[in-house]
Amino acid sequence: MGIINKTIIILLLVVTADSAFSRPISWSGGSTIMYKTNSMHSSYYYHYSPSYKYSMGLEYINNRHFNDQYINLKTTYLLGRKNTKKSQANLYLTGGISTKSKNNHFYGIHGDWETRRLFTSFSVINKDTDVKDYTENELTFGVAPYLGEYNDLHTWVMVKAKKDTINNNWETYPFMKFFKGDSLIEVGTKNSHWDIHYMLRF
């Protein structure tokens, strides 16, 4: 097996962590730009999807708390999708490596099930760092208060529960998701700080 194949497999086995969005892969040939900011850090992420089955991208992170900047190479692979008339279910394998150090990488799985009215997702992410290895678990549930048509403004009321093996307790917080056209924004508050995610697909 060549070094390129090995690299691809390793990348596919590494996971993206706090992807707050229900669709971590775009349509075939589609690109996505994300911006995220919260009390600890802000990040810019670009990914490209050669097909609807996987995406690869680069994320620049500015950790304001530790005054640290680094880049993650992230990828997501669609393990399976089940389409029905009223729903779509997905299971993803995602991961990444970091320029922070050779010991910094993450990998895991992410799954979601969505109708036009309901959304649920889970993720299990293992993060290996220089200091400590840990696992993050995340559950999300959302309801659309109304059903918009194509090109309308779509609104979701969401709640997210997170737990990591460092603090070992569940933390739950609400947020709102809006999207229209090619743009999506999530706004929430966590520990009295704004948590904002913006995404543009093209």
């Binding site: 609807y52 393990l79 089940k82 389409n83 008339k85 036009r116 299990v124 309308d152 090619d182």
Partner: protein
Amino acid sequence: MYKILLSIIILSSNTVLAMDGMHNHDSHNHNKHQDMTYVDGSKTKITDEMFLSFSAGLSNTQIVMVDVQGMVCDFCARGIEKTFSDDKDVKKVDVSLDKGKVMIAYSMNKKVDLDEIKNIFLSNGQTATGIVIRKV
């Protein structure tokens, strides 16, 4: 934990994108000005209101109406719209999330290939289960 992850991954690898009901039937006249080709007409119900709204102002056109599974949000449909819109023979594309349908207006020059349409949906991660063609 790792055994659980591995089990989920193995189970999920059996998920198959089903493309059922794609059978080509003969064309026949519907109205004076409309021809229809059924692929799986039993699953595709286009109301006259939808059709008339979409076809308003169009002439000398083939309108393809596709029944789609998995199109639960705008982002799901956006890639489909972009792909069809890039085709120079496509005059208009419309999506109904509520009815799970996509309507595509082709010029009469276009030789409509049902497999090509099916594959466009598949390459965007959705499943086309039925297709009807009308000519106006």
